[in-house]
Subunit: 554 residues, 2 copies
């Protein structure tokens, strides 16, 4: 199976907007290395994450299943034991699946204990690490507050920095994610006013180059041991928004693209969106002074990512591995950057829910599509099915809910999905309290078609609706427009068809079900609907024939 | 916790119709022992199974979750590893949970292997046995055909019979489920023409008394080791329809209740129902000669169940255990017995989908409801929540989808559900081939309210609709009635609300979610939306303060 399979270098950035790449149309940010991969492959221009927030988005990508199907609906909601991952599917197809970087995986330790899975066993470690074998796990969130560290693990990156001579308590924060202010004090990147300062670290020691080096180490170690799948998963350009020199001042206010927002978005806003508009992030990112300092830093972080992607591409080219290595570039979600009066992600406007997705398959079968752009509706869960397909495995479509993109990469026209889905659970957020909602009413669903985007909110609200053709900027919410009742009904039909999907029948394949239609029960003696033996093939009754022993004789 | 909890004797019959009990209105079948329990407790008159077929119904009852939630949608579809069972919940509440009899559980051996769970370990055995500790497992289906036995396990019942001197190859079939014909040959109970013959076995050796004895053994062994939950799970009155003397001729044609069927059901029948009407079971059970011989045998089997229930009640009374033992009587589904031109179960008319449910709680808190009938809409998944509640545990309502019936048993009025759901997967059936449907389109959903019952079929069909008030016999399908468009829309609203439920977020409770709303991220150093430190409590920044070490010095 795996013999002729390519390697898969599955690179994920964190919080990288779909349109902050020059190949995706950014006017002032040059990303020649992303563009280089796009020129070699297909850029999918309408790819959506399954949830616009790290944890749940990633759990979908790593299981190939919708958020409602795996249940890890928000950051640090554990992925329940028993869920089958990309790694499980790939190993079955004969390909190892390694992690280098971030997953945001929270292990279901209660479930593991219930099943007696030791976290330090091979199986337990994979279950606890979302199915990956760990080359390096580093989620890149070594924040610390009065209740201790956000991430309780040992920090490989902090260990590295200490080895390099950064002796502060938490060099991840104090150096990689902070500058120095005029008084010589730590200027935390968590305060956005510091975004324009250079991070107090040698560029080569910052997170992106560090992880890139680890990825090259990995590929060196694996030379001659093809094929492999490696998930190289960066924390950047995720906040804290601060970047080392020379990237800190590579962009200025003049490089910022026009903000996408309209006063009418705040008038009569949908109650859930309105709750977001009253939040702290909205207040901050609606300020031009915030955008003016943050966006150039964010662009610098992306530029740094691009430069180090170049190192990887060069390494693959120079070592002859490029021709047998599929490269996948994507992000777990976007970043509003003040568009729609919003900061971060967490809602369904394009800057948040659309993701960059570029796949370059070096094999000749994909020659027809090199350098093309596909506008098919892609869901990020398609990646798991794609990788299994590339590994030469059979896509277990009773488990994996996405579809292999291999036919699209080969330019083989085929019918494709009519709509894509994304979900969001804001039950732990301040918005939930503001709206006074019970946890399970704090759920949003997005349905997007070629032209329309509907956002459904549980809890008794009307929906939001955008006409992406007439209103690509998503300013005009048509969710209560009587003229659009029919469209809204159609969009709900999609949602409800999807909601009734069979997502949990994961232990038996469609193929096996069809096989069982062939008179299975009679073959094992279950005879139903027979009065006499008319119509009953003799072989079926053989086991039941013979002389009876009258009970008195027993 | 478990200290003052009662024992729970959870008795399930198999294929016992809700209305074949004298307390439920049967005119000719006296079931004084069922009635005795009903007089001590509450009879729920509108209880529904979650799927009208053994395996999926039971997996719902044993997990407390809908079929769509656990995924074991039909007989012998394995219950996926990781699903949490009644037994898991009860043990957490300090109560053991034992099995005596049938579960129809198919273990997810692939999933167990993936997680390294040895079937003979304590944990592996529980996972493989649907969370029960096994006093005795016997599914009562020791059928054998050209491809061997339906059930590959060792048969405890056959072992018992051999010990008792029944030496035939498969005494379960040749004696317990067969008579003798005029030539002295085995007259298999699988051929319904033999239903009137006495089974060729001493009554005391037949399945119902045998399992009753094992239950009494269990209760004897556990005396002084309260509390326990025991699932006493009979195969009867399930087919083969044949019963030993004296039950074989206790009822005659004159005792058969009028058949509930109408010619108009076969005119313009819904396509899926029509496929059933063209099946072998429909052909057989539409014949009066079949009903005339099968129904008296079925009544005899129930009468035998009632007599042996009497032995259990006597035992509990005589040993003083009655006052500390809750008794629960139910069935996994019903039996059409020719009503609606149907045999067996597998569809959603009342004879198939409604189940008997009687709960007698001896504790004084339940005095107010003794001998009453409740017409609340009950789903069988309510039992798991009920038992956890009785055991003194906290009902994990992020996992368990049913509701505790304890408040109803205590006569505490409370708001209750407006609709109940049942599901059916016919993907392995001949009907699937007849309709030419892909496996995942072969799914039916029933939504029932106080007055209406809607049946939705995937695959592009219109629904079926019955007005239970005007048409309690369910003869008139209003699924395409323009006059009922509004009702149909309301019923679909229920279905779709249910379909969007959060069924897989099982690793974090609503309580924990509410707790996380209280500024969790900031407490661990995640500061979002701050430009400067305005509004930021000082403690949050403490970890990020201090003199910076310029990078050159590192």
């Amino acid at each position: 199976m795996g013999k002729t399979a390519p390697n898969i270098l599955f690179i994920m950035y964190d919080q990288l907007r779909f349109d902050y790449l020059s190949c995706a149309g950014h006017k002032t940010l040059e990303t020649p290395n992303f563009d280089r991969v796009a020129a070699r492959g297909v850029r999918f221009d309408r790819a959506y994450c399954q949830s616009p927030v790290c944890g749940s988005s990633r759990m979908s990508t790593y299981t190939g299943r919708y958020v409602s199907s795996h249940g890890a609906a928000y950051n640090n909601f554990p992925l329940k034991v028993g869920e089958i991952t990309m790694g499980d599917h790939l190993r079955k197809a004969g390909m190892d699946c390694w992690l280098i970087g971030k997953t945001h995986m929270k292990a279901d330790s209660e479930g593991m204990a219930r099943l007696g899975l030791a976290p330090d066993s091979v199986i337990g470690a994979r279950v606890g690490e979302c199915g990956f074998d760990i080359w390096l796990r580093d989620d890149g969130l070594w924040a610390e507050g009065p209740k201790g560290f956000y991430d309780q693990r040992r920090s490989p990156y902090n260990a590295y920095l200490r080895e390099k001579g950064y002796t502060d308590h938490n060099p991840w924060h104090d150096h990689a994610n902070a500058g120095i202010d005029g008084d010589g004090d730590i200027a935390s990147g968590f305060l956005m006013k510091h975004a324009g300062k250079p991070a107090n670290i040698r560029e080569g020691d910052s997170e992106t180059p560090w992880l890139t080096d680890r990825a090259i180490d990995f590929m060196e170690a694996k030379r001659g041991r093809d094929p492999w799948c490696a998930h190289l998963s960066y924390i950047k350009p995720h906040w804290p928004y601060i970047v080392p020199a020379p990237y800190h001042d590579m962009y200025g206010i003049e490089d910022i693209q026009p903000v996408v927002r309209s006063d009418k978005e705040r008038t009569d806003a949908h109650p859930v969106f309105d709750a977001y508009l009253h939040g702290k992030l909205s207040a901050a990112f609606s300020r031009n002074d915030v955008r003016d300092v943050v966006i150039p830093a964010y662009m610098g972080l992306i530029k740094q990512c691009d430069d180090h992607l170049g190192r990887i591409l060069d390494y693959l080219d120079e070592t002859g591995q490029a021709e047998k290595t599929v490269i996948v570039l994507t992000s777990d979600h976007g970043d509003y950057m003040g568009d729609h009066w919003m900061g971060e992600k967490d809602f369904f406007h394009d800057p948040s829910v659309r993701v960059p997705l570029i796949i370059a398959d070096p094999r000749s079968e994909a020659d027809a599509t090199r350098g093309t752009v596909s506008s098919k509706l892609i869901e990020q869960i398609d990646l798991a099915a794609t990788f299994v397909d590339m590994a030469g495995g059979k896509v277990a479509d009773h488990i994996l809910e996405g579809r292999s993109l291999v036919p699209l990469l080969r330019g083989e026209e085929s019918e494709w999905r009519d709509f894509a889905i994304s979900e969001y659970d804001y039950s732990t957020s301040p918005m939930a309290d503001r709206l006074g909602l019970a946890p399970r009413d704090c759920r949003l669903f997005m349905v997007v078609t070629e032209r329309w985007k509907l956002i459904h909110a549980e809890g008794g609200f009307s929906p939001m609706l955008f006409d992406l053709e007439v209103d690509p900027q998503e300013f005009t919410d048509l969710g209560t427009s009587a003229d659009h009742a029919e469209i809204i009904a159609q969009m709900y039909d999609h949602l409800h068809h999807w909601a009734k999907r069979q997502s949990q029948r994961t232990t038996i394949s469609d193929e096996e079900i069809r096989a069982r239609r062939q008179g299975g029960p009679e073959q094992v003696g279950i005879l139903m609907g027979y009065y006499g033996d008319e119509g009953l093939p003799e072989e079926f009754t053989a086991a039941y024939q013979g002389k009876a022993t009258p009970v008195e004789e027993n």
